[in-house]
Structure formats: C-alpha cells, structure tokens
C-alpha cells in the first residue's frame, strides 16, 4: 500500500518538471487531475521545505532543495552501474567502463576490469577528449552542440587512426546515431579496440558504457551481436535508474 499524499506530491513535482520547471496551479491541475485545494496544500508543504518556489506572478517552480538532493543522488550513479558493467565483462571478456560528458570532456565514472591478465585500464576520474573514444562518440552523437565541442577542443591526433577532421567526425557521429553504437578502432590507443553504447533517460543520452581490449580479441567478436548484448544491458540499467515514472513498477533488487 502506498502513501497517497506522497504519490500526489511527486505527481505535482513531476508536473512542474514536465512543464519546463515552472507552472501555474491550474496547469498543474490539468496535468495531474487533482483538485485545486489539494494541489495548493501539497505545494505549500513543498514550498516550506524548499522543493518548490513561488514566482512573483504566483506561478510555482521547482526549488533549490531538488538541486541539492539531486546532486546527492547523482554521486551514486557510478556505484549503481557496476553490476551491469560486470555483465558486460562476462559477455565480452573485456574491461567495461561507464563515462559521462563533463563540459567538453569525457570522464570515466565507473569500471569493471576484465579478469584476463592482458586488459585495458582507464582509472575512474580520468578525463579525455571525446573525439578519439567510442564513449565520446556515443555521448556526442545526436548532441545539438557536437560541432561546437569539436571546434573548441580540436581533434588532436592520438594515433595513426585518429579522426582529425570535424567534417569526417560529424559523418561518423551520424553513423553512430543510426547504428546505435560507436567503435574506437585504435583511435585513442594503438592496438586497442572499443565498442560503446548509450545509457538513456528517455531520449536523453546521459552516459555511455563500453568494452575495450586488444584489437585481436575485440575484432574476433561478432560486432553486431556484441552491440546488441551491450545495448540490452545498458538499456536495463537506464530503465532501472530512470525507468520508474508516475507508475508503480517492480524495482529490480540488485544482487551482490
């Protein structure tokens, strides 16, 4: 049995979020179907706690307490990813990573290393330019400001394979957007191949997951089959973290 008032308060917050972060009481009523008095009472409670603010025109907006508590939750995402990265290691035999965009850089936020003695390693916290990594290509494919990022950072050559032309890179990104995964064929590090897939919150790509290892081993894998498997795992992860949305859903209990 759930707590109705809490469900309703979350409905109100999500109505605000869906309305660009700000709405009038009657707009919230339209989205939630709740009576004005009920909405008003819930909003007053959220107001006093800083989760909602009221503008000078009496409209309501999401509040600063959400920024703080959202930041606290964000710092946990890497830890949540580990069981899924473990599955990727099991599937491919290679080291699995998760990365996010931080400004113009790719930052590795989680990793599960391959059990093999010869393995790729990229320390968590490491930041690299996006152009020469598979995760970087995934994060920028479909990104409205991808060209601007490349204009700012340039595409410095890392290996003989590195793509150094913005035009070639934009073509590459449209391929990535179409096929749903990106490859790094020795572009960041000679002799290392990498395949990366998106982690999405709805239609927004919020992270990328990848597997990487020596070219001989990675190129021996069936690329499309590997991509399908990795996409499935990344999709499950995205659904677990972001999937619950205004409807009760069975939450997968993570097992150690």
């Amino acid at each position: 049995m759930s707590v109705q008032s809490v469900e309703r308060a979350l409905d109100v917050l999500e109505a605000l979020a869906d309305h660009g972060g700000e709405a009038g009481l009657s707009e919230i009523a339209a989205r939630t179907g709740l009576p004005y008095g009920t909405i008003h009472r819930l909003l007053q409670t959220l107001l006093t706690r800083g989760y909602v603010r009221q503008e000078s025109d009496r409209r309501y907006a999401l509040g600063g307490a959400l920024v703080r508590i959202g930041g606290a939750a964000e710092r946990l995402v890497g830890a949540w990813a580990e069981p899924y990265l473990t599955k990727m290691v099991e599937l491919s035999g290679e080291t699995a990573n998760m990365a996010v965009l931080e400004g113009d850089f790719v930052v590795y936020v989680a990793q599960v290393p391959s059990p093999r003695r010869l393995r790729m390693f990229a320390e968590v916290g490491r930041r690299v330019l996006p152009h020469s990594t598979a995760v970087g290509k995934v994060l920028l494919a479909g990104h409205p400001n991808a060209a601007a990022v490349f204009e700012r950072t340039g595409l410095p050559r890392r290996t003989e394979q590195t793509i150094t032309s913005i035009a070639t890179m934009m073509t590459e990104l449209s391929v990535v957007a179409r096929q749903g995964y990106a490859m790094d064929l020795g572009e960041e590090e000679s002799g290392v191949h990498c395949l990366a897939v998106p982690v999405a919150d709805g239609s927004r790509v919020v992270a990328a997951m990848s597997v990487s290892g020596p070219v001989e081993r990675v190129s021996a894998l069936d690329r499309d089959e590997l991509a399908r498997g990795l996409r499935k795992i990344a999709g499950d992860f995205g659904a677990e973290v972001f999937g619950a949305r205004s409807r009760p859903a069975e939450n997968v209990r993570m097992r150690g």
Copy 2:
C-alpha cells in the same frame, strides 16, 4: 497547515542524503525519529516511483528519479539569480555575472548588464579558463582539486597581468579563501577589473557572482565595502535557493 506525510517523506529522503546517499531503515529511524512501520511505508512509495532504491543488503539509497528532477531544477538556477544580479548592478553600477564550474572551465550562466554605455559583456554560455577570472578564483579557492585543474589547463597568459605560475596562483587562492572575495585586475582583459564572491550551499561553493567594468570605475569603488555588499546579496541568494532545510521558513517571494 502542511501535509504531514509529505514532510515525513522529505525527512526520509534528506536522512538518506545526509547519510552519504544510502542507509538502513534503522539508521533512518535514528535520524528522523519516525517509527519503523511509518518509514517503511514511505520508503515503499518512494521506491515505486524511483526516488529511492533498495540495495541487495536491504539498505535503501537515493534513486534515479532524483537525478532527473534535480537536473530539471538545476536548469532554472540562472533565472533565479537575476534579481540578485540586478541588486549587484544597482550597488556597483557595473555588469553583474554568475558563473559555475563545468569540468575545468568557468561557464557564465546568468548576467545583468550595467545601464552605462561603456559596459562589460560576457555572453551567457561563454566558457573561460578559471585562472584569469575572479569568478574562477572564487570557485577554486578551497577546492580540493584546484592544483590538479591548473596542471591540466595550464595558466596561459591573457594580458600582462595574468598569473601564470601555479605556485603564485595557489597563494592567491588562499588569500581569496581568507578574505572571502577575489579580484581580477586586468588578468583576463586589459583595462577591466572584476570582483567576485561565492554562492554557497552550506559549506559547498556552488557558484560565483561578480561585478566587472573599466579599471577607472571599479578601482574608484571602496573594495572592502563593495565586497561586503556583494557577499550579502550572494548570501541572500544562497539562502533563498538552498536555505530551506528540514524546517519551515518564510520563502522570499521574488518581485518582478
């Protein structure tokens, strides 16, 4: 009259946030004083909506829905700052900006221009290196990884005044931390002075606010008095956005 169940659900979320993002039910009980049954019922509601997750060891953690809704709130912070930046323009006569750290860069997220014909302008969205800006110094003063940032970015000379030595910069940052404001004395742009102060969420500096203008005008102002005034305004802003915390507080209604 507030909604008790909603207050309690927020208490539970904040107890999790204060406990590193993750806690057992009895730890939440210790922090909130609520009965186990009550906490459990509230957690189940938050669980089904994705605002909380349960780990394999039955402990609870903040959930992905907070990441999403926190991000939605974060996109509004710049708009909230404008009335305070307006006050800073009124106080100083100069253009006022707010900036945040995004990776190794300073990004301007809000601005209110000076009414004068001769005025500073930095377009919202512009990203600059932190070493040669007052806001950058504020954001990195006291930051545990400040030296690492400078090692990555370097301190390229922008003007004759730019600080280009990491050692000198670290000394400068300790002065900034002590006096509570930073100056840019023509370091980013010749002939332009800038004074910046922190916006804090508790002890965390989350943004910086500044005023900047031609050296003749800015240096004619009483620096300490200006800093005091700007700190007061930035403090009010921080208190408004982040201040409400587990206790009902009068929320300042912003006026157009």
